[in-house]
Amino acid sequence: MPLNPDELAAVVARDIPAGSYVNLGIGRPTKVADHLPEGAGIVLHTENGMLNMGPAASGEQIDPDLTNAGKVPVTELPGASYFHHADSFAMMRGGHLDVCVLGAFQVSATGDLANWHTGAAGAIPAVGGAMDLAIGAKQVFVMMTLFDKQGRSKLVPECTYPLTGVGCVSRVYTDVAVIEVGPDGAAVRETFGVTVDELAERLPVPIKSA
């Protein structure tokens, strides 16, 4: 069976090594936090200036001075630290983050990422920290459905949407498969409810088994 978003978040969480410093993007990747194993020493970074971010705040915990990158009120864990924006992005750009998990509109087989702008007329472009994360984290994971609502593959030979980064994605987590991407093209690591051959027929890029 294809995975639902929660199950997919659990698969991503499983693959994050103990002790990693991790940034989770806005939206779907935020769910990964709910599945990180306790005691694994995984530290969450939020671009607006914090390490060791805790879960979302509720009720009396809500503090307008403490939010995540999506502006959702969150909590702090023991050992948290705060820092200003230039330091926060120096952590990304300087290669200090082990993993970031981002959403995407499209990923190319060679790891190009498009996730900030559809380029549609009237669309308001908004990049936030995506371009900095894409080039800065040691490993960039993408979380998305493999096919859009029209059934078109979001894993593509070449992105048609404006790029966020070139050759920056290392692995794509989707509802039906986990796929490595990079200079050698796409390789399937595991599938959910489909065979590699079935996938190969539906995808516009050649895939091999990892």
């Binding site: 502006k71 230039a86 908004a126 990049v127 371009m131 404006p162």
Partner: protein, 231 residues
């Protein structure tokens, strides 16, 4: 006697902002937004402004209220489009405001460069994307980098948690965000704080923004909002 002025009202604190100024406005969404200073700037009346801020206003308050006056010519920001950015969205779609989208790390670093006397810097952010088009590039250690220039403000409006009479500042949690960087990057830095304590009452080891960067301080009652529809 410190050079930092401690003023009685936000209106006094924003005196002298001229038409055509570039104004750095702190905050990330609502956290750290200097609401009282922005409201005072609206009353002060300066126009033809360029605003540098992470977002382009939330709801009807703070930066959104300033945009609504029509006195902002251009916004330089990383993330204008949000669940409650309807004031900006309408101005942008009507062609009544210019937008320059800058990757968030470049936004912060370009202001840091301005404050630190760095003429420009090379960074790999945005290589191969529309946001680096037309910019000078250089390959350093086998990796393509883009040349980015400083962003300087005529005035910075920021919010901090506590100040001492020397102008030293401490912030609170993620409301710190752009404050310390913007404080260094403007010709005049104006800060609203929740409390002003005598010199000596802040732990010197814990000061985040040293008073040398701070020109004017005003104490205000803290106002807090959360972003509607954030998820």
């Amino acid at each position: 006697m410190s050079r930092t002025e401690i003023l009685d009202s936000a209106d006094e604190a924003v005196r002298g902002v001229e038409d055509g100024s570039t104004v750095l406005v702190g905050g990330f969404g609502m956290a750290g937004m200097p609401f009282d200073l922005v409201d005072a700037l609206i009353r002060q009346g300066a126009g033809d402004l360029t605003i540098v801020s992470n977002n382009a206003g939330n709801g009807d308050v703070g930066l959104a209220a300033l945009l609504k006056t029509g006195r902002v010519r251009k916004v330089i920001c990383s993330f204008p489009r949000q669940s409650d950015s309807y004031v900006f969205d309408e101005l942008y779609r009507a062609g009544r405001i210019e937008l320059e989208v800058v990757p968030q790390g470049n936004l912060a670093e370009r202001m840091r460069a301005a404050g630190a006397g760095i003429g420009a810097f090379y960074c790999p952010t945005g290589v191969g994307t529309p946001l680096a088009e037309g910019k000078e590039t250089r390959t350093i250690d086998g990796r393509v980098h883009v040349l980015e220039y400083p962003i300087r403000g005529d005035v910075a409006l920021i919010s901090a948690h506590r100040a001492d009479t020397m102008g030293n500042l401490v912030y609170r949690k993620t409301a710190r965000n752009f404050g310390p960087v913007m404080a260094t990057a403007a010709a005049r830095t104006v800060v609203q704080v929740g409390e002003i304590v005598p010199a000596g009452d802040l732990d010197p080891e814990a000061v985040v923004t040293p008073g040398i960067y701070v020109d004017r301080i005003v104490r205000v009652e803290a106002r807090h909002y959360t972003v509607q529809g954030a998820r």
